[in-house]
Amino acid sequence: MKKLLTGNSAVSLGVMLCRAEVISAYPITPQTTIVEELSEICSDGRLKANFIRVESEHSALACVAAASAAGARVFTATSSHGLAYMHEMLHWCSGTRLPVVMVNANRAIGSPWNIWCDHSDSLSQRDTGWIQLYCQSAQEALDTVIQAYRIAEEVLLPVMVLEDGFFLSHTSDTVDVPEPKEVDAYLPPFKPRYKLSPDDPHTYNIMADPTMFINFKHEAQQAMDQAKKVVARADREFKSHFGRSYGYTGKVRLADADVVLLTMGTMASTALEVIAALRKQGKKVGLCRLRMFRPFPSEEIGKILGGAKKVAVLDRDNSLGCGGIVAQELKAALYGAARRPRVFEFIGGLGGKDITPEDIQEILEYTLQAPSPNGAPIWMGIKR
């Protein structure tokens, strides 16, 4: 059924359709309306779940992690400082190999205080062992929540679904909401391979000494390697059930592009019309929207971008002293690639600053005419 939904509402309905059993979350702007809507959905019986109203994000993730270990399908959601406060538990979830699904509404991290969108909250958690999927639309957010459970429960790693704060979390769009029985057919009930049970007592997360610890981490890496295939399969099967799929990346006019814009989230939507306008002028530009950031699709992205002369990376984040995080990852991926386009780095949209069509046009035209990158990222929209 088609409905007009915000990104946060689409997420909430997605969680309902997935029949999450234990939900725990703490409100933070711009994620709050997910907490509110799921509270209502659980209170009025549309979803039979235990919703635990905790006192912090650390507790929210600790709570659903323990519930997951006890065999429940679980959900939590947060943003920004909340995600940072979960940091310890993020590592714990992937270390325990728990199929936790979380939505993070991307928001800048202070100081100074800022409640608006950028990607520095989730990208600064890139090494915590979570699969990360960045969405472009409310429909994709709902669909990705459903896919996330399939992925997490197969590879036993947690999945973080990302939606841009406000740009996606609070704007409304037409969303095709699947019927419960359709989702049930795609996503069977969670049957944990291991769980806390008096019938088969085991100790979770016991001390692993130096001879064993590395094995746990290596097995998790193997699971993350496997996750690539599972993400692709979950997406393919999703298409056969619902007619929609998203891939590791969204690709627009790449076949003959000289310059490709690489970016994530809703900035890709803004880029679409710019690409179309520049194409009308005969400029060979294309768009690659990175949807799967972890595991990073190094090989695939090398192939996708190998044909371009130049790539312009627009990062909505910055790692002080090193530059945009997507650009860093791309450059690392291209190092071993057969063909290596030149990488131009742009940083913009921090703390919710608009990325306008004019900004993207400027980025693409600069990249088209500049012979090579000047060595440092170009910051967009700095007030002089």
Partner: protein, 291 residues
């Protein structure tokens, strides 16, 4: 009952406790009373560290280790999952030391208590951060030596009154417990198991290494703490009904302090001051008993 009955039922040998540690006695008592239909949640601290090394575990119950500040939240998560599966007869017990309860864990514990989530929280109090090597906690008593309260700067604040803090949440059941009174201890665990809602059990856990006493004195010190009114055995129901379980003989507090090296740096008059504080706390407790 005989102490032998508690051995090797749900907590086996092979754990890494120091000789004379009270904690395994506490846990054997708890596990014995709860029985096999139990899930244990363990937070960082002595128990988290000594409970074996992969792939062995000395615990014959399903057990889940959770990071230091999260004992309260993890207990709620396990409870919620079991309830969703219809396994509401399974008991959840969360185990933390004084650090994981009084200090880094208090936020999540307070929240779980306020929600009145249905599980038992056990604090084993050895009165300092013993797992990291004897640093002061807010459970360390006045005048005690630790590695962060050296002889020139002994702990100069009284111990936090965790029982009052938890009772102030008006949860159904709060009780103190001692390994020197196993029948009383077992009864309290069984009462907690039969009570719905959040239950807080507070177990005194003498630590030979951190308190600097000879390991054969563990149970004797636990008994002296009760008899000297340092650790009264009592219950609080619904935050207001106080019940005294053992009437202390009122032995001098110095009998309890003197075998412990951590109190060997007390200055002239300190012993009297500690005795006065213990007496004042006791009177305060008696006023609540009689209210």
């Amino acid at each position: 009952m005989k102490a032998k009955e508690l051995v090797d039922q749900y907590l086996y040998s092979g754990h890494g406790c120091c000789p004379g540690c009270a904690m395994p006695i506490v846990l054997r008592t708890v596990f014995h009373a709860l029985g096999e239909n139990t899930v244990a949640v363990i937070t960082a601290g002595c128990f988290g560290t000594i409970s074996g090394t992969f792939p062995s575990s000395p615990i014959k119950l399903p057990a889940y280790n959770t990071p230091f500040p999260s004992a309260g939240a993890a207990g709620s998560g396990v409870r919620a999952a079991l309830d969703m599966k219809g396994e509401n007869r399974t008991t959840v017990v969360t185990i933390a030391g004084d650090g994981g309860t009084f200090d880094i864990g208090i936020q999540a514990i307070s929240a779980a208590a306020e929600r009145n989530d249905d599980y038992i929280f056990i604090c084993y109090d050895n009165e300092a951060y013993m797992n990291t090597g004897i640093q002061r906690s807010s459970a360390t008593p006045w005048g005690a030596w630790t590695t962060t309260t050296p002889p020139s700067n002994l702990k100069s604040q009284p111990k936090k009154d965790i029982v009052q803090i938890m009772a102030a949440h008006r949860i159904p059941y709060v009780a103190t417990a001692s390994i020197a009174y196993p029948d009383d201890f077992l009864r309290k665990i069984r009462k907690a198991k039969a009570t719905h809602g959040f239950k807080f059990l507070y177990a005194f856990s003498p630590c030979p290494v951190g308190w600097r006493f000879s390991p054969e004195l563990t149970v004797r010190l636990a008994r002296l703490a009760v008899q000297a009114k340092v650790f009264p055995l009592y219950e609080v129901e619904e935050g207001e009904r106080y019940i005294l379980n053992v009437e202390p003989e009122g032995v001098p507090v110095s009998d309890y302090l003197k075998p412990q090296g951590r109190f060997s740096f007390l200055r002239e008059g300190d012993m009297e001051r500690i005795q006065e504080n213990v007496d004042r706390d006791w009177e305060r407790l008696m006023r609540r008993m009689n209210a």
